[in-house]
Symmetry: C2
Subunit: 351 residues, 2 copies
Amino acid sequence: MQFVASEHPHRRLNPLTGQWVLVCPHRTQRPWSGQQEKAQKNELPEFDPSNPLCPGVTRPNGIETPAYESTYVFENDFPALVESVPVPPNSDDPLFQTAGARGNCRVMCFHPKSNLTLPTMSAAEINIVIGEWINQFNELSAKYAWVQIFENKGAAMGCSNPHPHCQIWSCSFLPTEPQLKQDRLRAYYATNDRPMLADYVERELQRQERIVIENPDWLVVVPFWATWPFETMLISRNNNKRINDLTLEQRHNLAVTIKELTTKYDNLFQCSFPYSMGWHGAPTGPEHAHASSAHWTLHAIYYPPLLRSATVRKFMVGFELLAMAQRDLTPEQAAQRLREVDGKCHYLNKK
Amino acid sequence: MQFVASEHPHRRLNPLTGQWVLVCPHRTQRPWSGQQEKAQKNELPEFDPSNPLCPGVTRPNGIETPAYESTYVFENDFPALVESVPVPPNSDDPLFQTAGARGNCRVMCFHPKSNLTLPTMSAAEINIVIGEWINQFNELSAKYAWVQIFENKGAAMGCSNPHPHCQIWSCSFLPTEPQLKQDRLRAYYATNDRPMLADYVERELQRQERIVIENPDWLVVVPFWATWPFETMLISRNNNKRINDLTLEQRHNLAVTIKELTTKYDNLFQCSFPYSMGWHGAPTGPEHAHASSAHWTLHAIYYPPLLRSATVRKFMVGFELLAMAQRDLTPEQAAQRLREVDGKCHYLNKK
Ligand SMILES: O=P(O)(O)O[C@H]1O[C@H](CO)[C@@H](O)[C@H](O)[C@H]1O
Ligand SMILES: O=P(O)(O)O[C@H]1O[C@H](CO)[C@@H](O)[C@H](O)[C@H]1O
């Protein structure tokens, strides 16, 4: 029997982490009688006087959110990380190792209106968001080793406030995922004298099997090693190392790409598509300021949970938590569906 | 300022994976207006003629589930892994690596009645489940490198059928998590000449800070490096390597321990507490039959998602997916709550 990736269970290696993913292409055929997500409602008001992220509303801590008109950034009222915190004592027991963690958590509203999301904002408005990401990154990267810009969108992704916003958590240390990438990207560069993701982009352009969006500055693919059903990577084609390297032209193209990708996502199951996304680039802060970043390529990752429809998600549970990542359709199948779905006209604007 | 673990954000190392966890003790104080889980209903019927896991019901594929009286095991009708499958061709491109994956997926019903769960079954009935785990393990471990016994309990953990059951996925290869443990346990043994988890048990018994249940054969702790809010490890105190090493006495004590732990879980938020759990022990199959397993200690891991109440869970999303594991209360706080909650009388049997 000949091996056919779209039919036969197999494993694929994620070269960024060194971990394998189990691909089980025919599992989506099983019947589903488990949990159904609530479909996202589209009937949010533009302004909700009880939502602390809306302009002019007083937050639980008594601070008033100003009457902002584009983006608005503030310190998280319940930060996971704080700047000034004592360091735990050293332990020489390998089973009880602790380490310090300093940082900073900010919230960034994308727009004053609660009933918008990135795909329903204009490319010009998204460009303002990108500009503010860069402002924040410029400031925070001077001090911190890692500045994690991320968006949790939708209740299914633990988003506790429907107003369009993202978060920026800065860390005095390199967290697990960036550290893994740092090591693997560096090793690849040492062997191949090329950034891994530059080679990867080139090969995906040759193969044309997993591409979702392609333009001169950006490539969106469902990575060969994707874990989540409709996971994508949005990769710089310009050897950018960090988000604050982008030219105005690249920023403009990024806004257009984000609008197109998130429109495709929404159109796929005709819902406000939930996901967690975030940016990865070369580490920062005094510690990394003089280190080479030649092995890095700026990229964003989208992890959307939905699998079958607006209400049926993939659960990363028993086998996935205890053994290994597992997916129920091939990355090529996911890419084809995302490639074919309309990325120009949002379903809410149709008919 | 003096470091206080229950107040100050810090990191802890998981020595089984080499990964750090960010502990943010005061984050549970933030208000929550995000997704609420549906509380588990307790009004399931004993028998549901439309549920294929009930005795005597015909499954979608036409096979009738027999009129079983204790446990019942069958091959999953939609298996992620199958025994006979072609191997993908070799690739010399490090960015597109695939590997074969053979295996087998079984479903195991714990009891004929749909309205029972492990905490509401008797210890004697749980002992029968343990016996069947061992039967299955004996058979499957002869052939496969890894036999993953796991239970997804509750809709919040992706369980698509409320009938009490678990799954057994066997793999021709060592998946990611077991491979990580294999490497780390082996390295610890090489340095210390003791199994890591035997040392860990000893130290937890001395420290008495994270213990939930303690008896001569088993220790249940919230590990020092726990990721999920009420995560626990149930560890053998008898140097057992695999589940089929257990004596009848150890099996009996295990049944009692499982009943007590799951009763505590249910009583914590007065609901049928969702979790994913599974067993980890020394690898198996022809490949590992002659390798030393001296570095291993049999243990089960429980990953429950709930954080604040029966309806508010922890989301492992943006920062956690993109950067690192993060928790909102200390393992010591979680252990204290689990230690203090009643483990003898289930809340449904009270008053
Ligand atoms: O096999 P089930 O119970 O239908 O499915 C559940 O467990 C599997 C193994 O952890 C997961 O892959 C699925 O996402 C989950 O919904
Ligand atoms: O800060 P939020 O949006 O309230 O919280 C959300 O994102 C955080 C960062 O990924 C997670 O730790 C929380 O579990 C999640 O609910």
